[in-house]
Amino acid sequence: MSVSDTGAVRLTDHRTQGATPPATQPGASALSDEKSPPAVRLTDVSKAYRTGRGELLALDCVSLSVGTGEFVCIIGASGCGKSTLLNLVAGLDRPTSGTVETGGRRVGLMFQEPALFPWLTAARNIELALRARGVPRQARRDLTRELLLTVRLGGFGDKRPHELSGGMRQRVAMARALALDADVLLMDEPFGALDAMTRDLLHDELERICAERTLTVLFVTHNVREAVRLGDRVVVLSSRPGKVIAEYPVPRHGPRRIDSAEVAQLAATLTDRLREEMGRHGH
């Protein structure tokens, strides 16, 4: 494995732990070490599913902590249990063993599909999340307007989901997740179904919104460049079972672009690492 020669990229590879001391401890980023306590902490989390032919181990002893305000991207090939991981953090499912702690923080979840309610307008979709939270009527209206402005859909509150484009729907879904007043935003390939141009713009938007609201984000993607473009740290999971095999802190020098040399360079390193992992299953 080649370590980036710029020196800007610090790299932890758990396979080499015995030989060379890692630059960062697994499960702890530089950011969370220095600044704040973790917002999300997974300790030795395993998840097994019962199937017709026995048990399927989706996650195997995953330990990971995400600092408050940190943006962590998780990548891995198919079958790495990424969605399982998010479901556990969201509390939609329980781990077979190990613990998931979010310290009582509100957790929002976004999927690849916007999953908006098709019988409600964009504004009503957002308002329903507020209502479920128990926000009173007048405050709901104001907050909804504000959230629509946040995702730059000010004039589109009256539209129904099917009247909006894919990117706009995903922004309504983002507003709905924000309406839960979540401190932690879990995103399961949220831009996976969008065209590249829309995705680039939404990356900028997501970055702006996270900065405005000090959100902690756990972002799952198949797209290595997207992970490097967005993350403060990229975590690589192995496949079947899912296990943390490497972590890459991403240095930040001002605004990032998906087509910058820096992003491309780290993305190449990550892609190599992923291919190596996929190759293990080639026989």
């Binding site: 979840l109 599909e113 309610f117 098709p118 019988w119 209502r131 479920a132 009247e163 829309t198 713009l201």
Partner: protein, 292 residues
């Protein structure tokens, strides 16, 4: 900011409609004509077949007025409407239809909600509900008459047994087919218990439910007509009573007139349900805009 502007531009590009040079009035007229001409054609075809049938005189009884042409029957229908008895009969039958259908809605919704919520109840009754649907409504009448005598209640009983299963089944299917993705989204939002039903499961199942309501109406209307032919209450004019007496008098024209009325009521109510169904699907983007 550049991102902001690019995003707004993209939004507008994706939403702008391609409009053809056609005024609103012209479009409405075109749509109205497109909806009307097939119906007119159908009526003309039916009248033509009827007239041919009459002209063929296949049993040789045209002279006895046992078989009459549209030209004789349609004035009869008009006369009956003017006379008032037919209108009174329509009133009675419609009242029974509305009462019976209303009761079916109540029973169907309650049973559907209970069965979809309580798994053991569902295992026990799921196939019974479907079984009830296949039972011809006329087979219920002996029991209905034993229980309620020759009364309106007997007719309502049969209507409810005929159409409530469709309502219950539609309710259960609607709940079953709530998209799992939306359920996940609802749970993340914190919707649970009754709120989950009120804000997610029930609205999501509305299209299936309306389809069930439409089917239930067809069952209710058929059960009612069967019931009115069998259960005749003295002194009360209903469509069934008119049909019976016309049959007794071998009055071809009046019989056909009443049948036309029954058919038209069925078609009109069915049309209303179809309209409601289309409106709901349109609101949810479930219709192909190219086809509407």
């Amino acid at each position: 900011m550049a991102t902001d502007q690019a995003l707004h531009g993209l939004d507008n590009l994706e939403l702008s409609d391609v409009t053809r040079g056609e005024s609103r009035a012209a479009r409405l007229a075109r749509k109205a004509w497109a909806a009307t001409w097939p119906k007119l054609l159908a009526i003309v075809l039916v009248l033509a077949v009827w007239q041919l049938f009459y002209l063929s005189n296949f049993r040789g009884d045209t002279a006895d007025h046992l078989l009459q042409s549209p030209a004789e029957v349609l004035p009869n229908l008009w006369q009956q409407l003017e006379h008032g008895l037919l209108l009174q009969a329509i009133g009675t039958s419609m009242e029974r239809a509305v009462d019976g259908y209303g009761l079916s809605l109540v029973f169907g919704i309650v049973i559907g909600a209970l069965v979809s919520r309580i798994p053991p109840l569902r295992a026990a009754t799921g196939s019974i509900i479907t079984g009830l649907q296949t039972m011809p409504s006329i087979a219920w009448f002996p029991l209905a008459i034993i229980l309620f005598g020759g009364s309106t209640e007997a007719i309502l009983f049969v209507i409810v047994l005929g159409s409530a299963p469709s309502i219950a089944n539609a309710m259960i299917a609607g709940v079953d087919y709530t998209p799992p993705m939306l359920l996940r989204a609802g749970k993340v939002m914190g919707l649970r218990g009754l709120a989950l039903y009120r804000y997610l499961i029930l609205p999501s199942s509305l299209p299936t439910f309306v389809a069930g309501m439409k089917q239930a109406w067809a069952f209710a209307w058929r059960s009612l007509m069967a019931g009115e032919l069998i259960v005749q209450i003295p002194g009360v004019a209903s469509l069934g009573v008119l049909l019976n007496s016309d049959q007794d008098q071998l009055d071809f024209a009046s019989t056909i007139s009443v049948m036309i009325v029954i058919l038209i009521i069925g078609i009109v109510v069915d049309g209303l349900f179809t309209k409601a169904d289309l409106a709901i699907r349109n609101r949810r983007g479930l219709l192909d805009p190219a086809l509407t």
